[in-house]
Symmetry: C2
Subunit: 373 residues, 2 copies
Amino acid sequence: MNTTPLTLHLELGERSYDILIGDGLLETVGERLAPLLRGRQAAVVTNTTVAPLYLERVTRSLAAAGFTVLPIVLADGEETKDWRHWQQVIDRLLEARCERTTALIALGGGVVGDLTGFVAATFLRGVPFVQLPTTLLSQVDASVGGKTGINHPLGKNLIGAFYQPRLVMIDLATLESLPRRELVAGMAEVIKYGIIRDAGFFQLLEERIDQLLNLERTTLGEVIHRCTAIKAEVVAADERESGARALLNLGHTFGHAIESLSGYGRWLHGEAVAAGTVVAADLSQRLGLCGEGDVARIRDLLRRTGLPVTIPAFPTPAYLESMSRDKKVEAGRIRFILVEAIGRAIQATDAPAGTVALALAANMAGTDRATPS
Amino acid sequence: MNTTPLTLHLELGERSYDILIGDGLLETVGERLAPLLRGRQAAVVTNTTVAPLYLERVTRSLAAAGFTVLPIVLADGEETKDWRHWQQVIDRLLEARCERTTALIALGGGVVGDLTGFVAATFLRGVPFVQLPTTLLSQVDASVGGKTGINHPLGKNLIGAFYQPRLVMIDLATLESLPRRELVAGMAEVIKYGIIRDAGFFQLLEERIDQLLNLERTTLGEVIHRCTAIKAEVVAADERESGARALLNLGHTFGHAIESLSGYGRWLHGEAVAAGTVVAADLSQRLGLCGEGDVARIRDLLRRTGLPVTIPAFPTPAYLESMSRDKKVEAGRIRFILVEAIGRAIQATDAPAGTVALALAANMAGTDRATPS
């Protein structure tokens, strides 16, 4: 199937770009990219899981449009998102005589996208960047908004740059090969958009979560389009993450702590965000912001989706310590995204540590449930 | 002396900033910076040569304005501009719990400025950056235009980002402590501005080079102001280096090859640019662009300044190979900045390799003159 894709235009002045959503888009990468670029050299960065599935398809399309293609296949996993691999990719580009006009194409999930984007931002002070996200998470989240980066031993995404892609192409067909666990994890970010900004969308998800998980194509296309549109709206209004954009971090302050304490890779990002969202909602209710009914609806939808709704059992001070290292800290105060109602989130820095500790403890699993898988 | 500084406003939309030029400015860093920033934490990155001279002065001024100061003192030299040191600085910032509002202040020459700027561009996806350039070269060149970066074993500045500072403060008093060789090297970039854009300025330099080298303060202030104004003009018109800005690279394609072939650190950047400018002028004349008189005037002024006017003796193919790795390559063609007349430079990618080789050979020193010092 190769119908006309849904198109979303992100208006960011000279850094504007399009997001295309549709079936079979990978086969059209070359022809769609060629008019946007001066050069005809492209490096496709991907991983050992995605390469056997889609690399040839992308390479063939690029070659047909006149591109010389340098494939760079990395190991799969969050460990790849470090400065050793960042250096390796840069070394490969230099050995292959890549230039300022060489396009860097990320073919894969969030790890590939973040790492490749950071290479694109920093190689020769910036080269054209293209995203071909192949996981639900990266399609609805990581591929929109210009965040690129790598992890540091002390925390996730502590090194990076804001750098916009020239084009994002979301091929729905790639979700067919996505493991169920990753599909489910991606739904955490989908649900997040409903909670922070769109009560009607949240309700639609409550009604159609089963069709979504069965990859019912029409619903899937609509839902991804709605998520990217919400995110695009927020990002366009607030490119540098000073205000509204922070709301996208619902569940992330707790989620990053889960990932960090468990060791990167044991929890999928979306799983950590789901459990973190439950804690954030619970904290909101304890602070008198939202009702118990809202917390229950959030917990129920996440559970029905197959997502974890409790955080792993680490000492509460370990959570607080880990969160205080997060980027979302200002003047030593941890910044929380809280829920006023489904469809409406706010930012707060004045949550008392005691209440945060209570919310953590109340949603902690026994040690037998320390990982979600 | 602490008179009102000359001020140059760089209009770059939301990334606009001021350049201040004057005597004794380092003593006023804190009070001038405080109104621009939300945070009151600052990391001052400098090196072992500059720290004993100026670090206390800067720290005292910042502390008086309410800043907490983290000093980071690196080894002096081009070797510091690598990813190992970039990582080290980031590690220090994380250990000290620096946040998104922490200002990164570069106190030193181009190496400190480029490295610190690249850290500021990439730490937590970008933190406020302030430049206090203490060498003539960094005052007239590296502190204006948003170029940050580090070197790669295969070439200079191959990794980096465009990232604008919030404020640049040029304290003329710091040139008193600058070694003569570095002062002279900085003059190469000063002279460059005359060649590419301002024949009257070139003539002024011919007339007043001795006063300048004697640090005659009024002339010095005027000349630095004129250089930054020319660069600011070019950069404001062309922030991403697609067109006019490339002219600032006069002498740099050959210069980078000199530095790379000699091993970083043996030639000062300005010395390499001076010798490279002679080759570029000579090539321009061979291509029928400018007259022999122009080449002679350029060579004479550089020589009177005390700058090298011949390139070190390496095989011509080694030069061509090194230049083909430069960032200023497009579709495999080396991009040269050529001289039409003093005050007017152009960009060209069609110089025949044979003519380039002739220009290199004609301006090559005997092996006894392979380094300028």
